[in-house]
Each structure stands twice: as C-alpha cells, then as structure tokens.
C-alpha cells in the first residue's frame, strides 16, 4: 500500500507533464511530440550506444563527481575552519568560480591533454563549487557548545574531523553533494563538446548539430532519467548518513 503510494507520488506529476506536452507539442520542428521522441529514444539508446557512449560517460561522471567530493570537502573543511585561510583563498576561488566551463576547457586541455583526464577535470571544475561552498558554510556553522565539548575532552585532529566536523557539517555537505550531482551531468555534456568522438553528451550535441531533433530530445530525456536515477540512489545514501539529523528534530523533514 505504501509502496503504491510512493509510486503514485513519483509518477503523478511527470505523467501530467507528458500529457501537457502531448497537448502542445509536436507542432514545431524543434519541439516534436512525445511519441516521436519516445520512438527516437528506443531506436537510439537501446543499442550499442548504451555501451559505447552512455556507460563511459557515466563512468567519467562518477569519477569526476567523486573527485569533486573529495576536493570540495577536503578544501572546504580547512577553509571553513580558518578565518585567515578563508580570507586568503576566497577571492581566488571566486575568481575561478565565475569562469564559464566552456572557456576554462582550453586551459584544462593545455594542462592535462584532451583525453579522459580532461573530461573528468571539467566535471570536477563545475561540481566542486556547490560542495565546497556548502562545506565551508556547514563548518562555519558548527554548534559552539559541541565544539567546546570537543576541546574539553581533547577530541582533536583526525578524530575531531571524523566525529565532529564532518558529521556536524554533513547536512550542508549533503546539500552540496546533491546540487553537484546534476551539475556533474551538465558538465559531462559540456566536457564532451570538446576533443571527443563519443559519449552521451557528444552524441546529444551531434544530434543537435545534425538537426536530428527528436533524437536530441531523446538524449535530453536520457540525461533527465540519469539524473533522476542517481538522485534516488543519493537519497537512500542521504537517509542513512543523516538519519540522526532527520530523527533528532534538528530538522523536520
């Protein structure tokens, strides 16, 4: 019973939107109807493309995401903890944050070449920001009494990091990770606009350039589904990691 309710909640609004699309779509060249896109989806993605284009892309996405997570949290904790470090690094970080990835790519290509490392780095270059910013803010907002408790009982160094800082900031860190997930997908596409000859993003861009519009939309559909799938996985993880947070009344969700 609860299971069916969940499915209903999951699907109700999307179903409504597809109906809406059905009603308005199909009229124009650039916005084909759901039927055409559905057909294109089946033809395009249930093929070797899945193995040759989609899987490597997803692999790079996950690698970049993981790296961004490590980097974002790894930098965010010291930056959040030290006012001086924050004052020093913030302008530099803000500088890089404002540079559009498409124009950053040539620089990354200069430094690491044009193969997989470049694409992973491009993904990192976008994903890292929400994680970093949220980590910094989460660390800054740690409870003072808990911090004092740690100091009193000599909890410091790695133990403090693991048992206090990371756990205490985890609600914010998880927010950042959640943000980064979809940004990662977007950057996966952007990274494959350069120096590529395969990949999900590349394929979508190619469809767009070759005016295969239904196919292009089917690729976007796939991106959306990928994002949805990953976010559902992410939620399971989050419910585990933050069970104390949602249980404790510190948050009401």
């Amino acid at each position: 019973m609860r299971g069916t309710m969940r499915v209903v909640r999951l699907l109700a609004l999307p179903a409504l939107l597809v109906l809406l699309w059905w009603a308005v779509g199909g009229g124009s060249f650039y916005l084909p109807g759901p039927a055409a896109v559905g057909r294109a989806f089946a033809e395009t993605w249930f093929s070797v493309r899945l193995v040759e284009d989609v899987l490597p892309s997803v692999g790079r996405l996950l690698a970049g995401y993981a790296l961004a997570g490590v980097l974002g949290v790894g930098l965010g904790v010291p930056i959040g903890s030290s006012r001086r470090l924050r004052a020093t690094l913030e302008p530099v970080l803000e500088f890089f944050r404002a540079i559009p990835p498409p124009v950053l790519v040539p620089l990354i290509m200069l430094l690491v070449g044009i193969d997989t490392p470049m694409k992973v780095l491009v993904i990192v270059s976008g994903c890292v920001w929400p994680i970093l910013l949220n980590t910094v803010e989460g660390v800054r907002a740690l409870d003072e009494v808990l911090a004092d408790t740690c100091r009193m009982y000599g909890v410091r160094g790695g133990s403090r990091l693991r048992r206090f800082v990371l756990r205490g900031a985890s609600p914010q860190i998880m927010t950042g990770l959640r943000q980064a997930l979809s940004i990662g997908i977007i950057l996966m596409v952007i990274s494959e606009m350069f120096a590529s000859s395969s990949g999900l993003g590349f394929t979508i861009v190619l469809f767009q350039r070759q005016f295969q519009i239904a196919e292009m939309w089917s690729g976007i559909l796939l991106l959306g589904l990928l994002g949805l799938g990953l976010s559902l996985l992410f939620r399971r993880l989050e419910r585990r990691v933050l069970s104390w947070y949602y249980g404790s009344g510190a948050a009401r969700a």
Binding site: D143, D148, T149, R151, M152, Y153, G154, V155, S159, G247
Partner: protein
C-alpha cells in the same frame, strides 16, 4: 590547583557590551570541592568557561596546576549547562560517553568497563544504544554527567548539572559526585543554583554578587566531611549555613 586572579570578562558585540565579571579572585586547592552560587545571569557560566580555557579573559589570569590557561587544560572535564547541545546527536549514548576515552587511547576493555559503570551510576544502562534526542531532558543531562565521570578527570567543572532531574535522582547524583570526589580526589568546581545542594556538597561555597560581578563571600562549610542525605541535611549547622547563603544571595540580588 585552580587559581583565578582578578579575572575580568567583558562581552563585546556590536551594539551591546556586557561586563559579565568585574573581578573574581578565587583559589581551589587540589582535591577540593568548591560550589559557586549566585543570581541568574551573574556570570557563573562565564567564570567556568574562562577556567576551562574556552573563553579568553579580558583581564586577569587563570592558572591550573600553576600553568596559565590559554586553552583547555588536559585531564579536565566539563558538564555544560546546555546539556542538550553538548551531546553529539549522531552518536548513541554509549558512543558519546566512549568518545573521550577513545581519545585517551584507553584499551577497549577498559573503555567498555568505564562506560558501563558510569551509565549504571546515572541510571541509564538501558538507554546505552539510544540517541540523545530520543531521551528526556533529564536523561540527556545524565548522559553528559556520565561522560564526565567516565573520563576520570583530575579537574571537574560542572555547570548546574542536576537542573533537569527530579529530586530523588538529584540526590543520587549528588552522592555520586561526592563518591567520585572522595575516591579519586577530583578537584571540583560546581556551579549550582540550589543552595541546599551547594551547602551539602561543598567544602566551600562561593557566593557571587550580581552584575558587576565580584566574589561576595567565600564561605567555609564546617560540616563533617562524611555527608549523608538524611543526617547531614538535618544538622542544625546545615540549616544555619543554608540560611546564611540564602540571605547573601538575596543581598546580591537586592544590590542590583
């Protein structure tokens, strides 16, 4: 053991400047148990945090074992007034109590023993696997006490540690602290607003005036060292001391 010399503390925040402590000079000998009482908001918590090295002093000095305090000294345990916020919500009760012991690198067997003992002492053996937020206020406070007790500190600072528990539990916990103090010789600074408690527990009771805060009286409690909830509290001298402190506090409040 603890020497507080002309301590002054002023909180400065934009638009508000509070002189929480004007000047406090106070010494606590090794193995002594001193209770601090004073009107609400007079600076007891502030004093404790300065002694614990958690708050920079504005003027004066605090020494622990002769060493000027700049950060938290080792082997000191604190029970915070905000007991709810001082427990890690992501850890179970057991983990909360065990954490400082891990930091002390005690062997696991010893840790388990200390945790079990201290939880039993505060009456929370059943709740070891619960998270703090699944407990009542009084239970949370007892977890914080258990953590301090299990730590086996040399100096123990307690800030209204029994505020949230019922009378009977409070009596039990008082005796727990007395036992700990006597058996291990823990130097203890105990903030309370319960005058009976201060007289019952303390070797000395320090009465703070209300703002601007100074030491109003440093009263030696000349009750027999062996204390007992029933007999000690019914001694005539107990009543006298109690009345004296009460009047002092009333004077302290009246002065503002």
């Amino acid at each position: 053991m603890l020497e507080i010399h002309e301590l002054r503390k002023v909180y400065e925040s934009p638009g508000r400047r509070v002189e929480a402590i004007r000047s406090i000079t106070l010494g606590v000998g090794a193995g002594e148990l001193v209770c601090v009482v004073g009107p609400s908001g007079c600076g007891k918590t502030t004093l404790l945090r300065c002694v614990a090295g958690l708050l920079p002093v504005s003027e004066g000095q605090v020494r622990v074992s002769g060493v000027p305090v700049t950060g938290p000294p080792p082997d000191m345990a604190v029970v915070f007034q905000e007991y709810g916020r001082s427990l890690f919500p992501w850890m179970t009760v057991r983990q909360n109590v065990e954490l400082p012991l891990k930091e002390k690198r005690l062997p696991p067997a010893r840790r388990r023993e200390l945790v079990a003992d201290s939880l039993r002492a505060v009456g929370l053996s059943d709740a070891a696997d619960a998270h703090p937020w699944q407990l009542s206020g009084g239970m949370q406070q007892r977890v914080a006490i258990a953590r301090a007790v299990a730590y086996e500190p040399q100096v123990l600072l307690m800030d209204e540690p029994f505020a949230a528990v019922d009378a009977q539990t409070r009596a039990d916990l008082e005796d727990l602290i007395l036992r700990l103090w006597r058996d291990l010789g823990v130097t203890t600074l105990f903030v309370t607003h319960d005058i009976d408690e201060a007289v019952y527990l303390g070797q000395r009771v320090v009465v703070l005036s209300s703002s601007p805060t100074t030491v109003m009286e440093d009263l030696k409690i000349d009750l027999p060292p062996e204390r007992d909830q029933l007999t000690t509290r019914s001694l005539p001298r107990f009543g006298e001391l109690r009345g004296h402190v009460y009047r002092q506090i009333q004077r302290a409040r009246g002065e503002r």
